[in-house]
Symmetry: C2
Subunit: 349 residues, 2 copies
């Protein structure tokens, strides 16, 4: 598991850039206007960006829009150790071309857009699922992050970088606990190896390392697995993405398997369904899905990268999201919730 | 100010309904399935609903959509004591028909939809504003809620009803502090007389009442006042609504003047603008605004009401939003952020 948590440890070998303000104080110059979050991202050095493997992308092409324009949605699948049972199923479903010819069936305002087989409830018409899909247990909604690898520092209520020490190697992971004690849904939240994660820790005891468990958070654009009533956990054949205020009550009740990194506007701007829960009332209202493929199968796909959450640039970006000091703002908030610090993603320049 | 804070105090004279579960325990019956939030709202007695005066509504009719369907957006204006300088301007702008013939100029995904005079930046073409608009100071972003009227009970970190005692009359206001200490942006949050409000309190001192200040929160659907760089606070001629995750960093930096109570899908599903900040790059992409009127000027407007946040039904609804116990859920969250407990609004049956 350790390898999944420190994929970018190598980046820490680079010398962290000195924060702009400190650099200017040191040089005796006047303070410049503080940068806006987007300006910090734009100024981030190439070394602070981490590649997203094409094999970790899911590319969904919708039917073209009314004006004949193509509509492509690019999803980044969630890395281990989170939700891997469902992610494995999704890889099989894409390989089997399961979603080709299916559709967007539900658009509920301030909630979700959902897609899959529009006839799934009708046994006579439902598409058959590929064999060998895993039945993933409810316990996989949350993941033990281990006590060997991670030492938790529980005493921080303010926004700052914390160091976590891995076992053996001495490599450090930096992560962002977002006002760790100020979340209505969890003991703490953090952006961990590029993903918004809520965390709980075991009670502190002298001489004992603290055990940490975590689960992904339903932020805007996150992709989850539709399911029937529990204990059903869904296969992954029915997916949705969040298009409104983070529905955090779904955390640990539904699996999250990724996030939309490009093209979410093709989903979020669709007409809202007028049936119960935002389902379309007629098949004609649905938007067709032409194909869904793993990124490595898609020719001509751009390369994508994200701002490494272990980088110094991300530290400055997250701090600026929580404390807007650029000219427009008169009162920095002094904090931010986990979903208000989206991880920047871009096409490789 | 007191009258604004207890408009529904009379409702408290009615006997609160016994919560369903307790009623069944008392009767020795088996516990029924706990109700979902929407079921609690649907079962709320008429007395738990509070009328919204047509004079507190702003009705915006957009140009009909591509299929000739009308598109009406209904906004409830914020009551005193919050943001009344801007609300007063908006009443004058509507009376002057200022927005008739203007347009939706900006749609930024996961952020805002903004409307007003698309030529405002071009002095030669800009529409002239009606006279006598107030210049509202920045200090009005936050409002002193008083110490005479309210005694604050600071020791609750869990979700429960708190009582506040008004001065003199002995009338009590019940409100909902939503995990008062678990908000990343403010000392506390509450739904106060129907609106999401963040609060700060003065330090406690023996024998001294605690002073409370509050400000409205940027939840999904809230309507705010676009402005230029500070100290400009905007007139109200340029408005926006939130169509994504609550951008709480805007709290106390921009005035909030209301919320969309019907028809937000006509804004949230508009094509996203491709210019900077989601502005449309050409006038042709804009959606026209036919008219904006105060509700009392609109013939045939339905009557609207909201679930009184002082009612027992609202208490049960808010608790259910924070602790989903209906069949679909396996793990209640144990809390909710202020923007995940939207105040139910409906047309009067």
């Amino acid at each position: 598991m350790r390898k999944h948590l420190i994929p970018f440890a190598a980046l820490l070998a680079t010398t962290p850039a000195m924060p702009q303000a400190s650099a200017n104080v040191a040089a005796g110059r006047a303070q410049p206007s503080p940068l806006a979050p987007a300006e910090i991202v734009n100024a981030a050095p190439k070394a602070d960006w981490a590649a997203i493997a094409p094999s970790d992308l899911l590319v969904m092409d919708l039917a073209s829009d009314g004006k004949g324009k193509p509509r492509r949605v690019v999803i980044q699948l969630m890395p281990a150790p989170f939700s891997q049972g469902w992610v494995g199923n999704i890889r099989k479903l894409a390989a089997a071309r399961f979603w080709d010819g299916t559709s967007i069936n539900r658009v509920q305002d301030n909630y979700v857009v959902q897609w899959g087989d529009g006839n799934a409830e009708d046994k006579a018409k439902a598409k058959s699922l590929p064999g060998e899909l895993a039945v993933v247990p409810q316990t996989d909604y949350s993941t033990r992050l281990g006590q060997q690898e991670i030492v938790y520092s529980p005493n921080s209520a303010t926004l700052r970088v914390q160091d976590f020490i891995t076992d053996g190697t001495g490599s450090r992971i930096r992560w962002y606990p977002i006002r760790a004690t100020k979340d209505a849904y969890a003991e703490g939240t953090a952006i961990l190896a590029g993903w918004p994660i809520a965390v709980a820790r075991s009670p502190a005891a002298k001489g004992k390392r603290i055990e940490l468990s975590g689960w992904p958070v339903h932020c805007y654009g996150m992709v989850g697995v539709g399911r029937d009533m529990p204990p059903n956990t869904g296969t992954g054949a029915e997916l949705y993405t969040v298009i409104g205020h983070a529905p955090r009550h779904l955390d640990r009740n539904i699996a999250l398997v990724g996030r939309v990194i490009e093209g979410i506007e093709h989903l979020s701007s669709l007409p809202r369904g007028t049936g119960a829960l935002g389902f379309y009332e007629t098949p004609e209202e649905r938007t067709g899905i032409v194909s869904v493929r793993i990124g490595s199968e898609v020719s001509g796909l751009p390369a994508y990268e994200y701002l490494s959450t272990e980088s110094d640039s991300f530290a400055r970006y997250a701090d600026a999201r929580a404390n807007r000091r650029d000219t427009f703002f008169i009162r920095p908030a002094g904090g931010a919730d986990i979903c208000n610090i989206p991880v920047p993603v871009r096409r490789v320049k």
